[in-house]
Amino acid sequence: MKQMAELDYLGLPPFKRRLHDIGRFFVSLPGRLLDLLKKIPLGLKKVLFGIGGFFANIGRIFKEGDLKTRVSFVIMGFGQFFRRQIGRGIIFLLMEAVFIYYMAGFGLHYLADMTTLGTEAVTKTVNKYGLEVVAYKDNSLKILLYGVLTIFIIVGFIWTWVINIKQNALAQKLIAEGIKPKSFKHDIKSLGDEQYYKTLLSVPLLGIVIFTVIPIFFMILIAFTNYDYSHLPPEKLFGWVEFENFRTMLATDISGSSKFAFTFREILIWTMIWALVATFSNYFLGMFIAICINKKGIKFKKVFRTVLVMTIAVPQFVSLLLVSKMFADEGIVNSLLQKLSVITEKIGFLSTPELAKIMVLVINLWVGIPYLMLITTGVLMNIPADLYESAKIDGASGIKQFTKITLPYMLFVTGPYLLTSFTANINNFNVIYLLTGGAPKTMAYEGGAGQTDLLITWLYTLTMQNNDYKMAAVIGILVFLVVAVISLIVYNLSPSMKNEEDFQ
């Protein structure tokens, strides 16, 4: 589809304009991909300049600052005290005091230990009765955990320090211009008004930092250690091994065996196939069923919809565990088929590798179609009816209407949803774990993995059954990389992500 002149475009009726947009979007895909590649170095440059600008700014504040401002570089809150912002001054000074106290008594010690993660796990001494006393000394896990915590506290402190300096510079400027800096009372008041976002975001962000950011940072570090079942604190120490775990996962381990790499490759391929097939089979079949239910003249729409929605409502651990038992070797499906003499031998629905893979995909339809039915119903109703009217007048068949109107419209509108559901499927723990638990297991795989295991369920098995934290961490990082790369590409190509303010 060719780009139109602005005037021609504006002269089109609204629904044709929409169709034109959709057409243009698909035509411009390759160009956008190239643009994306060009953007990466530009982004890097911007970041570097941003950092440079930041240091230059701090330097300038020091150069142009008066005595109060300069002393605040060392004693936080000093300037605020002498500019009648006592409340702010007290808070900053208190923060500095707490920080120094923490670092001296606790932080520095752990930070220093971070380099080795401990040198002696247990100490043996002989007490005065001549008995040997064993005591735990260094605990690598605690050292790493507190070390990471200390790093975050330092980062947080530097941030407050910068705010302190910037406030000083601002107050100095205001006083020079003859304006009174804002009072502490005003600060508190503005937390309910112009700065209300700070009130709203502080607790949620603190939660995210403590229970998501710090743990992720910690696990990334674990990927570079040898923390596993043979290095469990407090009895044993673990230490840094650089990129050894990544080498084991992607190429060969120390003994030269590439079994881990083989397992990873196989599971990665299956995870991708699973995510792709599960996403698109659900999408198209869900859409098809939604179209059937919404077709003019079909009655009992509500009944059909309600029955399907029930699978969403029943907790998955009940429905999926039950279904897995129904298809088990000794399960009801096999029993009934044998009774009806359809089969003589039991079918290993979930115990033969190839069939199990097909079965989890099929059962996943049972789980996923209702969601898609709901979503597509909503979108289908939004397609302007006059599009179909004019198509009918032009003599377009039902199939043609579907491929030329319904499908492009759906893909355009639900593009972001497709991406989220694709990444959600990569991490779809419940369906796989509750149905097969990764089974059937095979000797060809390392680390307790089975033929239907996804990366996420393998990660779970490695942690819960094998205590192989180091490899679990490596898998987690690799999953992140896969998801991030796919998302980055799709987000930059999808048009609907960019018009955030369209509705407001």
């Binding site: 605690k142 955990l145 209300y196 976002y197 709203l200 607790v203 949620p204 962000l205 939660g207 995210i208 998501t212 710090i214 743990p215 910690f218 696990m219 069923i289 059937c292 239910i293 077709k295 079909i298 309600t306 029930m310 409502a313 907790p315 651990f317 009940v318 429905s319 565990l321 039950l322 279904v323 129904m326 000794e330 029993s335 044998q338 009774k339 049972w366 709901l374 979503i375 909503g378 979108v379 939004n382 639900t414 972001p416 949803y417 989220t420 991490n427 723990f429 419940n430 509750l434 990660l459 942690t463 679990a472 961490a473 987690g476 999953v479 992140f480 609907s496 992500m497 955030e500 407001q504």
Partner: protein
């Protein structure tokens, strides 16, 4: 005249064709509904089966009884697990709703430095598999003593703490409320917090109900996190972890029908709640899917 008959014939054949497609669709949808319902009927039949507590080769029970429920309540830890899950679900419904709505409102209605950066960071964090951070979170909780027997407050903390990243659907909803409403109120002298409580909240009933409902239902189905945090302490299990154990090789022969009874007992209230609030759920997912 002949032309008229021709169009009539054409019309009739068309309507006949439409009728056959309609019938085909009815057959297809009815079959579909059957397939979708079979597991639930199976669940009910097994839960009320009086004879043999293991898996059997027939569907309909020979003897109907409430024996499985008696065992469930009297001889197992099930009620313990049930109340654990209920407490976690109730707390989560409150905390998660407050957090999600706060974050969504701040990111949707207010413009401040670092807003885009914050949203991008949360997006990136969301790309790490949740279980990865859970492993480290487990160690943190263990240090402050909130695992195993104290797993309930631990679980509440974990669910609530990471819920801020799930603001997308609520933000999508707030985005559709015209900004002119805020501005008019601000000109009249209302503060931001007043606008939030007095203007936006009363208009957001659907999304509030949706958020509460999802936050309440999620803990009932969580297996992954609960199994890690309650590891090795049966009294602290939630229903998912507890019932899961009954289907392993050692237990299934004496617990299969009890599992079904437990599953039914958990599913009925959750499903009823869900069905009653279905409208809000549909609004939430369709809105969320369309706006990303």
């Amino acid at each position: 005249m002949s032309a008229n008959a021709d169009t009539k014939k054409k019309f009739r054949s068309k309507s006949r064709k439409e009728r056959t497609t309609r019938i085909l669709i009815y057959i297809f949808l009815t079959l579909l509904c059957l397939i979708w319902l079979i597991p639930f009927f199976y669940l009910v039949f097994q839960a009320f089966r009086g004879e043999s507590r293991s898996m059997v080769t027939y569907v309909f029970p020979k003897e109907w009884s409430l024996e499985n429920f008696r065992i469930l309540f009297k001889e197992t830890n099930f009620l313990n697990w049930y109340f654990n899950t209920l407490i976690v679900a109730l707390f989560n419904a409150v905390l998660q709703t407050v957090i999600v709505l706060s974050v969504a409102y701040a990111l949707s209605r207010m413009r401040f430095k670092g807003r885009k950066l914050l949203m991008n960071l949360m997006l990136i964090l969301g790309m790490f598999p949740g279980f990865l951070s859970m492993i480290a979170t487990y160690f943190i909780l263990k240090l402050i003593g909130l695992t195993s027997e104290n797993a309930i407050p631990g679980l509440i903390l974990v669910y609530a703490a990471s819920s801020g990243m799930g603001y997308y659907i609520a933000k999508g909803f707030f985005d559709t409320i015209p900004k002119s409403l805020d501005e008019a109120a601000r000109i009249d002298g209302a503060t931001r917090s007043r606008v939030f409580f007095r203007i936006i909240m009363p208009m957001s009933k659907p999304i509030i109900i949706y958020t509460i409902m999802m936050a309440f239902i999620a803990p009932w189905g969580d297996f992954m996190y609960a199994s890690l945090i309650t590891f090795g302490h049966e009294e602290a299990y939630n229903v998912a972890v507890g019932l899961y154990k009954w289907l392993d090789k050692e237990h299934i022969n004496s617990y299969f029908t009890v599992f079904c009874a437990g599953g039914l007992f958990v599913s009925v209230p959750v499903t009823a709640l869900f069905m009653a609030l279905q409208r809000y759920y549909v609004e939430g997912v369709t809105g969320g899917a369309v706006k990303g």
